[in-house]
């Protein structure tokens, strides 16, 4: 049964990839997305059975090298992430049926369809991988297919830069993973994922490499810079998949390693928690300042990945401290939040895609009043914003509540230093939550409410049906996942002390209805509809509205030290003594801190280094023979045992 479901899903995704490449027609593309929809239904069955029964199937497919099998396997952790893929894909597929048709040419439409399916397939295979080699193979396919999606509109210079940035970062990630896996392999002598019963000191190196490798891909601060570049470039459906699922695949990879370690050390947990908290805080602070809707969502992904890693860090700390039930609680919180983020972030990206499609711009300042022009999209956007701001009774609230519970119970930790550390982490975690709420009030308010700020936004029209049904799927799941969070967790076999949000939801609903009824009954006269009073000015103009920058200004003032400005002063003189002024340029702009201090220096160093290396290749036969000669000498010295 399990085997049939899994192979069925793989086969449907594979045919969904191949078909649009063979035939370019609208019907084939529709069929292709239908196939990915079918595959996600199969996968929900597959993951559901494993989560419910706790079976751990292993499928040896072929032995492709001596001692190395192409193995696929799944356990409860993998099943959780397969479920995550399977719930995001339907919305994206339905949405894409209409969305890809807006691409420039037939070839690109079909290519985008094929790549989307390939991308989903590769992510599925990464999660199903039974050993490190299979994992890395599909990890690379995943990176390449997502890169091609980011570079989809390759004619624009900005997108080229974004693609290149993403390409470099994803390769750095893979390089670290390679080293991490190789050092693990040296330790265990086997490429399989298995329980690692080794002292933590031996595992420190693999841990660091894998943490950085997966951290780059997941978008942890300070390796997050590719996200705000790649997302605006990618088509919205691809952004939804990348932000919703691919970042979680990186989380999955890291968890696969971390959970197999039987005895982690305290500093691991502290490191993960610190990285997580900082990512969450910086992500949301940078997002507040952002004026591009997709970049804003990208930064928000950094924040949410931070929250997930906060949960993972808590797990590691509690595990070291021997608090198994708390460790389980925080791990559940991290996984549940990953699951939730996949839902609401894909929802938000899809809605953002619709808004961008309808208005033709990504600038938040140009939106406004969309609630009247695009009522359904606005409603869906609202659900996404409420969920991501973690308001009850949505799933975002349920996920973060689990983490808060874990934090609150951390008084059980005996080490006073760790207690202080956890309190600091908790406070910044709480701050993140508050800022995220402010962020999405801003995003939703500026985008959908009030009156249109630009002509583009005034002329916006509601998008076609598939682009409404698509995001409706994750929106429904957001509310469902929130209301039935307790039931879902216990269905997955996790008996955790957790409030029943269904009850809370019903209660909230009753209160709202009652309030509405009371106000309605107190109503004296018929409602009078008129314009807002504008201090005597006859018509209200968009200039009187809150702007995006204006809304976040108070918060920007508070975090002024984070957004540092840089003053560039360039002057030219006629003479050497610099007394006769020729011309000059003074520029004040935001300091791109991570880019200028963390990314550029190594890039420059590599550039200089490669200049020297390229001198070696001078096209002279003599030099090449000399290199061979030197290599032989070194070999002789080495075989003689001198080095």
């Amino acid at each position: 049964m399990l085997e049939a479901l899994m192979y069925g899903a793989i086969a449907t995704l594979l045919s969904g990839t191949v078909l649009p490449l063979l035939y370019r027609s609208k019907n084939i593309r529709k069929t292709s997305f239908g196939l990915s929809l079918l595959s996600s239904i199969l996968l929900i069955g597959f993951a559901g059975i494993i989560l419910y029964t706790g079976k751990e199937p292993v499928f040896p497919v072929i032995g492709f090298l001596p001692g190395l099998d192409f193995t696929l396997s799944a356990d409860r952790l993998a099943a959780g992430f397969i479920l995550l893929i399977a719930v995001v894909v339907p919305g994206v597929s339905i949405y894409s049926i209409e969305y890809v048709e807006h691409a420039k040419s037939e070839a690109r439409k079909s290519l985008q369809t094929a790549l989307t399916n390939l991308f989903v397939l590769s992510m599925l295979m990464v999660v199903l991988a039974g050993n490190m080699v299979v994992f890395l193979i599909f990890w690379e396919i995943m990176s390449i297919s997502s890169l091609l999606l980011v570079m989809h509109d390759y004619s624009s210079e900005k997108n080229k830069k974004a693609g290149f940035f993403y390409f470099v970062m994803t390769n750095i990630s893979t390089a670290f993973l390679f080293v991490g896996f190789i050092s693990l392999f040296r330790l265990t002598g086997s490429p399989d994922f298995g329980q690692l019963e080794y002292p933590a000191a031996d595992l420190a190196l693999p841990f660091l490499f894998l943490f950085i490798g997966f951290g780059v891909k997941a978008g942890l601060v300070p390796f997050h810079k590719w996200l705000p570049y790649a997302h605006p470039a990618a088509p919205s459906s691809a952004s939804a998949l990348m932000s919703g699922v691919m970042l979680k695949v990186a989380v999955y990879g890291f968890l696969r390693f971390l959970l197999s370690v039987s005895a982690p050390e305290l500093w691991w947990g502290v490191l993960i928690l610190t990285a997580g908290t900082l990512s969450a805080l910086f992500g949301v602070i940078y997002a507040l300042k952002e004026n591009d809707i997709k970049r804003l969502l990208a930064y928000s992904s950094v924040e949410n990945i931070g929250i997930i890693f906060t949960g993972i860090g808590l797990y590691a700390i509690f595990k070291v401290e021997g608090l198994e039930s708390l460790a389980l609680l925080s791990l559940t919180g991290a996984c549940f939040h990953a699951f939730n983020h996949a839902l609401f972030k894909s929802l938000l990206f899809l809605c953002a895609g619709s808004v961008v499609h309808a208005t033709g711009t990504r600038k938040i300042e140009a939106f406004g009043g969309l609630v009247k022009k695009m009522p359904v999209t606005s409603a869906l956007f609202m659900i996404g914003s409420v969920s991501i701001a973690s308001l009850p009774p949505t799933n975002g609230f349920a996920g973060e509540l689990l983490l808060y519970q874990a934090f609150f119970q951390s008084f059980a930790v005996t080490d006073p230093l760790i207690t202080v550390f956890l309190i600091i982490a908790l406070s910044s975690f709480a701050l993140t939550g508050a800022l995220a709420a402010a962020l999405f009030v801003k995003l939703f308010g500026i985008t959908c409410l009030a009156i249109p700020r630009s002509e583009k936004s005034r002329l916006a029209e509601e998008v076609q049906k598939p682009m409404l049904i698509g995001p409706a799927v994750p929106a429904a799941l957001c509310i469902f996942g929130g209301l039935f969070s307790k039931q879902l967790l216990s269905l997955a076999g996790l008996e955790i002390e957790f409030p029943d949000l269904l009850l809370l939801g019903i209660l909230l609903g009753l209160i709202y209805t009652a309030l509405f009824m009371i106000i309605r009954s107190k109503e004296t006269g018929p409602a009078r509809i008129s314009e807002t009073w504008g201090c005597g000015i006859p018509t209200l103009t968009p200039y009187m509205e809150y702007s995006s920058a204006g809304f976040s200004e108070p918060l920007v003032m508070i975090f002024k030290s984070v957004y540092r400005t840089k003053i560039l002063n360039r002057t030219e003189y006629f003479d050497d003594q610099e007394s006769l002024f020729k011309n000059g340029k003074v520029e004040i702009r935001l300091l791109r801190f991570f880019e200028e201090y963390l990314y550029t220096p190594p890039a420059r160093a590599i550039d200089i280094f490669s200049k020297y290396v390229s001198k070696l290749q001078n096209g002279k036969l003599d030099s090449y023979v000399l290199y061979a000669f030197l290599a032989v000498i070194v070999l002789i010295i080495a075989t003689g045992g001198f080095i």
Partner: protein, 228 residues
Amino acid sequence: MIDPLFLEGIIKILFVFVLISAGLIISTRNLSSILTSYTIQSFLLAAVSFLLYLIDGKSQLLLLAGLTLGSKVILIPYFISRIEEKIRIGRDIHFTYLEPTTSLMLSIGLIILSYSSLSKIFEGLPLSKLFFFGAVIGLSLTLMGMLVVFSRKRVITKALGYLSMENGVLMFGLFVTELPFIIEVLIVIDLIILVILTTILAVGMDSSIEEYREKVRKLQIWTGGEFR
């Protein structure tokens, strides 16, 4: 029957001459002297092979001696001398990276390196002193040949350096690994083809390799198209 110890003594003396010939190839500027050195070196190798046959009595060694004599002492030098006549240049005075004196000093270093490195590698192997020395000389000869290839400018000298490298391989094979005879034959065939090719290309070989490339570029042999 001659006393094997006496023969071994002779072989050791020949070793010294082999090294001297290699040194000459590295440092001499006169092209015909280089060729003569190579011929002598090959002849010494043939002699060593023959003496080993006298000690061991393996007919393979006798065949090898004959092969070396026929190809490397007679045939190849004959071809090369023909080339030298054709290109009408007598001296190769250009060096890259290393001047002759430095090259000679470096060669001494190479011999010491081979000695100390091989003595570590062969530690504990039942190998007699003579065979060990043979291996050391073979390895150093190979390295010195390589040194010639990158430090001399003229193509003809480079070819001789390469041939001398091959002599080193043969030497090493004689004393340590015992290459199968068929492989030795194939190598010699390769060498002869190399020299024949060199002869055919002799028109262009009267210069250094950079100038030769320039010539080829002008004749549009390799680049294809792009007539100027």
